[in-house]
Symmetry: D2
Subunit: 356 residues, 4 copies
C-alpha cells in the first residue's frame, strides 16, 4: 500500500528524535512533515536539531524544512512530542483542522473523551473517538494519547494480573532514567552519584493514568479501575530504562488464597493481546518478557528487549504485606514514549480509523 503521510510535532526534542528514528523505515508511515517551535521553523532539520539518540541523524530528514506546529502540514497523522507547556491547544487546533493526532504529551490524557491508550491494555478505548468527534464537533480529526513513560511498563505488567486474578492494590517505587527528563533535562551536577527523590507531577500521573488505562469504557464514560495505587518516583543515574519495584494485592475473595508464584509468572509470560494478534509492525512478539535470573531486569542490559517495545519483569515473589512483588523495566523513550504512540497509530490503522 501507499504509506500514510505523517508529521512530527516537537520533532527536535529527544522524544521527537525517537519518533524520527523509529519511523525512518516504517512499513506503513512516511515522515512528510517535521514541526517545531517558531525559532526552528523555516530552517533545515539537520541544522536546528541537536541529534542525540544515536550517532547519526537519518539522512532522509536532514534537509527537510522544519515547519510550525499548525495546520498546513502535509500529512494526515501527526505524532506529538510537544512539551506539556504548549501541547494542549496545538493538538486541538490540528484535530480541528482534520488531522489525526497521536500524542505523547500529558495534556489530553485525562480528558473524559480522549483515549489514553496502550494497545495491549485497553484497545477498546478507541471506541470513544466517535464520541470525541461529536462532543467537539470535529468532523474528521481526533486525539489519542499514550501514557507517561513510567506508567506504560507498570500498566502492561498489571494488565494480565488484573485479567487473570483481579487486582485491588498497587504500590510502586520507580527508578527512572535521565532520558525521561528530555534534553537538556537534568543538570549533570544534580545526578552524578546521586538520586533525586522527586519528579514533578509524576506520582500523580502514575496513579491517575494507571487507573484510566486499567479501567473500563462504558456508555462513552471512562470508569477508573477500582484499585488503590500509590507511587514514589525517583530519578537515578541511568541513561535509558525506567525500573520499578511493584507490590500488588490480587483481587481474590476473602478467605481464598492467592495464586501460586508459578501462576503469576505464567500469566505475565503468556500474555499477548490484540497488537500481537494483528501483528502490528511495532508490536513486540512477546509484550512481557519474564526473566528468571535473580538479579534482572537491569536497565543497561534489558531495556532494548523487543526493540525497546517489550517490558521485562523479574523477581516475581511473595510480598509479606500484599500478595506479590516484582520488578518491571520499560524503555522510557521507546515503549514509554515515541514507540507507544506509534503503536497506538498502528492500531488505529488496523482498525480502519486511518488509511493511506
Amino acid at each position: 500500500m501507499d504509506k500514510i503521510k505523517v508529521g512530527i510535532l516537537g520533532a527536535t526534542g529527544t522524544v521527537g528524535q525517537r519518533f524520527v528514528q523509529l519511523l525512518q523505515d516504517h512499513p506503513w508511515f512516511e515522515i512528510t512533515a517535521l514541526a517545531a517551535s517558531k525559532a526552528s521553523a523555516g530552517r533545515p532539520y539537520g541544522e536546528v536539531c541537536r541529534w542525540k539518540v544515536s550517532a547519526e541523524m537519518p539522512s532522509a530528514v536532514r534537509d527537510m524544512m522544519v515547519e510550525e506546529c499548525a495546520p498546513g502540514l502535509d500529512c494526515e497523522l501527526v505524532f506529538s512530542a510537544l512539551p506539556g507547556e504548549v501541547a494542549g491547544p496545538i493538538e486541538e487546533n490540528l484535530a480541528i483542522a482534520g488531522y489525526f493526532v497521536s500524542s505523547n504529551a500529558k495534556n489530553h490524557r485525562l480528558d473524559p473523551d480522549v483515549p489514553l491508550l496502550i494497545p495491549e491494555v485497553n484497545p477498546d478505548h478507541i471506541q470513544i473517538i466517535e464520541h470525541q468527534r461529536r462532543q467537539r464537533s470535529w468532523e474528521r480529526g481526533f486525539i489519542v494519547t499514550s501514557p507517561n513513560c513510567s506508567v506504560t511498563p507498570l500498566a502492561l505488567a498489571l494488565k494480565p494480573l488484573q485479567d487473570s486474578f483481579g487486582l485491588t492494590t498497587v504500590m510502586v517505587t520507580t527508578m527512572q532514567a535521565i532520558s525521561g527528563a528530555g534534553y537538556p533535562g537534568l543538570p549533570s551536577w544534580d545526578i552524578l552519584g546521586n538520586i533525586i527523590p522527586y519528579i514533578r507531577g509524576e506520582e500523580e500521573k502514575v496513579e491517575a493514568e494507571s487507573l484510566k488505562l486499567l479501567g473500563r469504557l462504558e456508555a462513552n464514560e471512562f470508569q477508573s479501575a477500582p484499585i488503590a495505587i500509590s507511587a514514589q518516583c525517583n530519578r537515578v543515574n541511568t541513561v535509558e530504562g525506567h525500573l520499578e519495584a511493584v507490590s500488588v494485592r490480587l483481587g481474590r475473595k476473602k478467605g481464598t488464597t492467592p495464586p501460586t508464584t508459578e501462576a503469576v509468572v505464567e500469566a505475565l509470560r503468556s500474555f499477548t493481546a490484540l497488537p500481537q494478534e494483528l501483528e502490528l509492525p511495532s508490536a513486540p512478539r512477546q509484550p512481557i518478557v519474564v526473566r528468571e535470573e535473580i538479579d534482572r531486569p537491569q536497565p543497561r542490559y534489558d531495556c532494548d528487549q523487543g526493540g525497546g517495545m517489550a517490558v521485562v519483569v523479574g523477581r516475581v515473589r511473595e510480598c509479606p504485606v500484599l500478595d506479590y512483588k516484582f520488578m518491571v523495566l520499560g524503555h522510557n523513550t521507546i515503549r514509554g514514549a515515541a514507540g507507544g504512540s506509534i503503536l497506538n497509530a498502528e492500531l488505529l490503522v488496523a482498525k480502519g480509523y486511518l488509511s493511506a
Copy 2:
C-alpha cells in the same frame, strides 16, 4: 579518664577502615590492635591495607602491626567488621576469651540472646547481656551487634512513628550505594549506568532485623514487633548513602483517622533518645533531620548530616494505600556500619558495662 583499649577485626576492609577513621580521635577509645586475615597478619597496617575511605590513612595506624583475629589482642573491646563468612566463630572465641565484642557482622544479629542494637531505638535490649553470659557460660565477654546498613535508617525513622502513633505495616524500597558492598564489591561494569535489583540476603535482613529492633525484650526473650513488613532492595550507582522509599500504616484503632502530616513530621523531627540525653560522643544532636524541600534527601548532599550519624527524612506525605509515605537516607558505612557499632559501645560504657 584513661582511654579504653579497642581492637578492630577485619581492619583492612572498607568498614574496618571506617572504624579506624572514626576512632582516630575518639575521646573514650584508643585503637591498640588491628586484626585481619592470616595473609595480612604480621605486616604493618600501612602496607597491607589499601586505604579507600579518604585521601590519607591516619598516621597513627600506619606502622601498627596487623594481628590475627584471635585472643591475644591487646585490648578490652573489639569492633568487628568481619565478613559474614568468617565472623561467627571468631567473635565467639573472642567473647569466650573475655573480650567485649561490638560487631557489625550479620552472624549473631538474630541470636536469641544477643542484642541487635540502635541506641536511639532499643537501648534496653542491652539488658540481655547478663542472660547471654549465663546462657553461654561466658564470664566477662559478650557480643552486641549493629544492624545491616539498610536497616538502620529505616528503624530510626520508624521508631518515633511507632512510639507516637503505633505502626502496623511497612513497605520499603531501597536504593543502596555501592560502598555497601565493600571492596572490591561490585564490578564497575555491572553498575555504571545501571541498577542491580537484587542484593543477596538483604531483603530478609531488612524484614527480620527491623522487627527485632522495634520489638520488645521481655523476660530475656525478644518479641518481634507485630508489624507486617516488605522490602525490595536495589543497588544503584551512588557512592555513599542508602536512600529508601517507605510507606507505613500507623497503628490507629479502626474508625479513627490517622494523624496529620504535621504531626508525623513533628514526631520525626523532635525525636531524641537516650544517646542524646547521655551525650554520647558519636550521638548526633538530632538523630532524624527532616528536610522540607520537595526533592530531598539526596545521597550526595545529605548523607553526611550529623557527621554521617543522623538520618535524613523528606517528602512526608499521605499514601493512597497505607497512611504515610516518605524518603529516608542514612550514611551506610558510618551510621549504618562502623559509626553504629561505635555508638553501641559508647552506650555500653555509659551504662557501666565497660570502663577504662
Copy 3:
C-alpha cells in the same frame, strides 16, 4: 583587626556559592553584600539561590538581601564570580566607583594592565596595579584576576620547574570535572558514561593564561613566558577536580642532560612561595603535594588536599618525547576559582593594597 567588608558578584551561581562558603568564617573578610542579576535583586539570598555546594547554606547569608551588581554595595572589595557574558563592564564600573575587584571571570585576565595572579607563581605582577590606575584614571579601585580553573593547577606545577630547571615546552591534556561548567552546566544526558572532547575557549585560555602567569612584568609590560604550549581539553564524568596529563621539556642547554626524576620531584615537593611565607589564611602549607603511589592523584580522593587549595602531582617519570611527564590535579571550584580569588585578595591585604 576589624574585618574588611566584601561583596560577591554573581553570588547565586556555583562559583558564587563557593565564595560564600569559603568566606563564611574568614579571619580577614566579612560578607556584607551579595549581588546577582536583576531578576534576583531585592529578594533574600536564601530564596533566590539554589544552594548546591553542600547540604546547607550558611545561616548568616540566608536572609541577606541580594543586590544588583553595581556601585552602591556596602563593601570595599568585591569578588566576582560573574559569567563572562556580563562580567567585563560590571567589574570596570565597580573599579571606577572605587571598589577593589578580585575577579574570577575571564574578561580582564589578558588585559595588558591587569594582573592575572596566582600568589605562589607571580606575586610581583600586582605591581602593575598602580599603572592600571594611572592608565584608566581610577583613583582607588582596581581589578585583579585569577586564572581559568584548568590553568591554576598547571601553572602551579610548572612554576618550580621553570624556576629550577627552565622550561621550554609544555603539552597538556585535561580531564575536567562537570562542576567547571557551572550550574546547570552540562546536561546529564551528554556526560553520563561519556566524554566531551571539547570545552569552548578552554584550550586557548590554557595556552594564553599560562604564558602570562609564567611570564615577567617589566616596565609595566607583561612579557609572555617563552614557552611552546599545547592543550587538549576534555570534559569527563567527575564531580570535582581537574586532572591533567602533562609533558614538559626543561630548559637546559644543548648537550646537557635533564635533571634526574628525583630532582624534579624534589623541586615540586619542596616548593613554597610568598603566600606560605606570609602565612596567608587560605594558603596551603604545601602548595604542591607529590604522591608516590603509582595511581595517584585521583579526583575523588585527592581534590580536597589542603582544603582544596593544594594541587596534587603524581607519576613523575621520564617522557620519551620531551623530558618529563606527570599528572596534576587541582580542585577546580576552590583553588581553581573562588579560593584562588580569595588568596589573591589576601595577598593584596598583606601587601597593603587593602586594609580594614
Copy 4:
C-alpha cells in the same frame, strides 16, 4: 563454502564473550569449540559463563560443553582471549599441535617472529609466518596477534599520516573505558566519579606495539618505526570506547611547511586499505571516519561506528608544539580486541593461509 571450524580460548571472559557474539553469524567461521579454565571445563557454556556483553547469550552456544585450553579442540583455528598470565604457553602448545592461533593476548605480540597485525596497517607482516614456522619447527600451526585495545585506534589513525606525510613524533593521552579491564575488572568504588591515572603496563604497550605496527618487515626482521612516542594512559568512567588525545609531528624535511589541515583530514578520511579492497567480512567500509562537529568523537555516541570496527577521528587542528593534534576513538572490545583478531583471521583466509 563450508565454514572453517573455530574455537575460542578464554571464552567465558568479556573478550571471549565478544568473540562469541561477533562470530555467531559469521559467513566464514563457525564456533565448534569453547575453551576456558579447568574450573569451567566439562560444564555447559550457558552455565559457567556470566554473560555480560548484551541481554542474552546466543542460543547456539548455550549448551556447548566448555573444554580445556589444550590440543584436542575440534577446530582448525583458535581465537585467544586468554589473560596474559596464562596465554603464552597455552597458545604455543596449540600452535605446536597444528592449530592456527589468532590471539588477542599480550604475550607473543613482541616476539621477533610473530606478526602483530592490523590488516589496514601492516598486512605484509603476515609474511613472517613462514619464518616463524621454520624458527619454531612448527609444521602447520602459527600464531598471529592483535594489539592492545588502546593501540589499535591510534595505529589506525597514524597509518595514513605516516604514508602521506611521514611521521616523527607522537604524544598520546588515553581515556580508556572500564570494559578494557575485563570482568570483574575495576571495582566500582574505584571509578565512580573518578579517574585512575594509571593502567599497568599500558603505556609501555602503546609505545612498543605502535612502533612494531608502523615499522617494516625486512628480511624476516621487524624494524621499529623511527618515531618518538610517549603515552599517558588513564581509566575513566565510560563503558565502551577508548578516546585518545593525540599530537603528531609529521616527517617533513627541515624548512618545509607541514601539510594543511584539509590535507591531513583528507588523508585520514580517504584512507582505505587491503581489508576494504578484499572486502573482508568484518572490515568497515571506511576504517577511519572523520567527524566535523567540534565536539566529537564521543564514546557513547561514536564507538559503534562501522559495527565497532571503524575508528572515529575528530578535532583535527594545528598543534602549537608539534604539527597537528586530534582525538581518536575506537571500540575497545570490538575493533580493539575480538573484532581485531577476527579481521586478522579473515586476512589469513583471504591470503590462503587457512581454508575450510
